[in-house]
Symmetry: C2
């Protein structure tokens, strides 16, 4: 019932009959360096174990140490793509002795700014961030302030900020080449409105592959607005399907692909009879759809693990200012939504 009083360094010190400093030294493994007697080291460790002592991290951090806390800012933790990343980040961080604090920016610059402020105030040792559109200056200022920082999923190529993300160009290159090999020519692409590099790279991968295959005249890049996706997607697909007589559509994110599926269902457009399609990232829908959906698989495990590795490395060697760049290779999972054309 009564709140058990936490065991403090002082309690251990009193129990052994020494100073708190000595206990601190021993428990931090600096006994050798401070030439503490071996028997004393044993006694202290034994007492600390028996009393179940664990340091107050707040006090330790105030003193100038570290919190062993990592801040993770994604756009939306309820988005399965980011929650999958969060899970891996959590696992890897735990392995390395860190705990993860998370926040969702909702793709909003002001939110991102506020969240970074809050997290830094909590004393996080470093940040893993999915940067939103327009956040380059903000992120740069954080980086220049020497806060350990790693971008994930998206990056700013013009800066020297470390990142771990997909080789986005390769993703659509693979996809487009697959469709061309299957015999499609009139291939369109649906992305969303943003200046962020990951989407631009995916668009480039499509455009350059189309161009190289001599299909330049078919290049069609449609961009919907993230705020009003459903309605805009309807319009876009109406144009592509009914007016442009497109043979195949590539969706640039999971959410776009799923929204696309909803719209196509409403329009009673059949896949792949009426149109072929390619999605992005894993989703049960892709496997359970009457014809399974061809999609790009990101090596999430690798991307997220690398992000943590890079960050912890930065935390431990804050004096070094190295830009670590990790591009992970995409994989194309071929389903029934992109059959060979006769």
């Amino acid at each position: 019932m009564a709140k058990e009083k936490r065991v403090l360094l002082k309690d251990v010190a009193d129990a052994v009959g020494v100073s708190t400093t000595l206990v601190s030294i021993v428990l931090n493994g600096k006994a050798k360096q401070y030439r503490i007697a071996d028997e004393m080291v044993e006694k202290v460790i034994k007492a600390a174990m028996e009393m179940n002592y664990s340091p107050n991290l707040i006090a330790r951090n105030l003193r100038g140490g570290k919190t062993q806390l990592i801040g993770l800012i994604v756009t939306d933790i309820s988005n399965p793509f980011y929650s999958a990343i969060a899970r891996i980040v959590e696992n890897r961080a735990n392995e390395l002795g860190y705990t993860v604090v998370f926040s969702s920016s909702d793709e909003d610059l002001d939110n991102t700014k506020r969240l970074i402020d809050v997290l830094m105030n909590k004393g996080v040792d470093g940040l893993i961030v999915v940067p939103c559109d327009g956040s380059e200056d903000l992120i740069k200022s954080i980086h220049e302030n020497n806060t350990p920082l790693v971008l994930i999923d998206r990056n700013f190529p013009e800066t020297d900020i470390s990142f771990s993300c997909l080789n986005n160009f390769r993703a659509t290159e693979l996809t487009t080449r697959h469709l061309i090999e299957q015999g499609y020519e009139n291939i369109a692409l649906v992305g969303y409105k943003t200046g962020m590099n990951h989407i631009l790279d995916r668009i480039r991968g499509y455009e350059e592959t189309m161009q190289a295959a001599g299909l330049g005249k078919y290049i069609q890049v449609k961009k919907v607005n993230l705020m009003n996706t459903k309605v805009e997607m309807n319009n876009v697909l109406d144009v592509l399907v009914n007016r442009r007589k497109v043979e195949a559509v590539i969706f640039l994110t999971n959410m776009l692909a799923v929204t696309g599926l909803y719209c196509l269902k409403d329009m009673q457009v059949r896949i792949p009879e009426d149109i072929a399609m390619v999605g992005f990232n894993r989703n049960d829908v892709f496997n359970l759809y009457p014809s399974t959906i061809t999609h790009i698989r990101q090596p999430l495990e690798l991307i997220a693990t690398q992000a943590v590795n890079i960050l912890v490395d930065k935390i431990n060697h804050s004096e070094l200012e190295i830009k670590s760049m990790s591009f992970s290779e995409p994989q194309l999972i071929v389903g029934a939504s992109t059959p060979k054309k006769e």
Copy 2:
């Protein structure tokens, strides 16, 4: 490049030419109580604003024993159900000035124990926990230690630990009644092996409703093991579909429903022609499946918001030991998977 020095209380105090105490008092809104002159209050506030002062939470926390950190332990943050909850917890916590630290227990007791230890070490002010099977004693000991604690999604009815969860009995009562009204009689249920109350309540809801409708002889409760779901589900569905000639199946969780869909697809069993089914929680799959799937919707927003409210209330009134119980009402979303029997 150089790390900007943070503005401290002392900096503001020096700028105004007063003590740090005075600045602290003013900025914490206790000027009246300490009879600080009105002009002085103005001067201090102005200076603090201009210098863009914000308090070091770590120092404040060390002094006050509070971190404004909430720990959230779910079974798996990458499970869309829990990440949706996490998102709402995050939002509500932010509104109340808290930040969320999360961890995944993987339904494992030792993990749960370890995670709680770590989070309490980080100094979280309170915990929101999805308890796993067998964790009752552990959770009780945390509660008895006066750590503010709220269970979410699942609860221990025999204890006086607060919780926020679905009215699970009502969920399957609604579902079963709906199926019966649609003309089904041979209705089976698929859950998983656990002693946890939420699943047991769902099973009771089904059993009692069947019994009350005079369909007791059709009651069939199948339990799969969480470790080997796919294989066991195959066996279970084989028995139900081929041997028992079941007319409808109720799946007790989202994961079970989706796994069920995979198996039924493999078995080439059509929904609803060959069998009717009901799922649990929202999932794009349910809407995009050729025949939309009838399912139970949990008011996640309410459940998660309530959990945070209850927790913060406990944090702020730790002297009171009230058991808060929040049961939220389920909603049945009727799809094409449970048509009226002719």
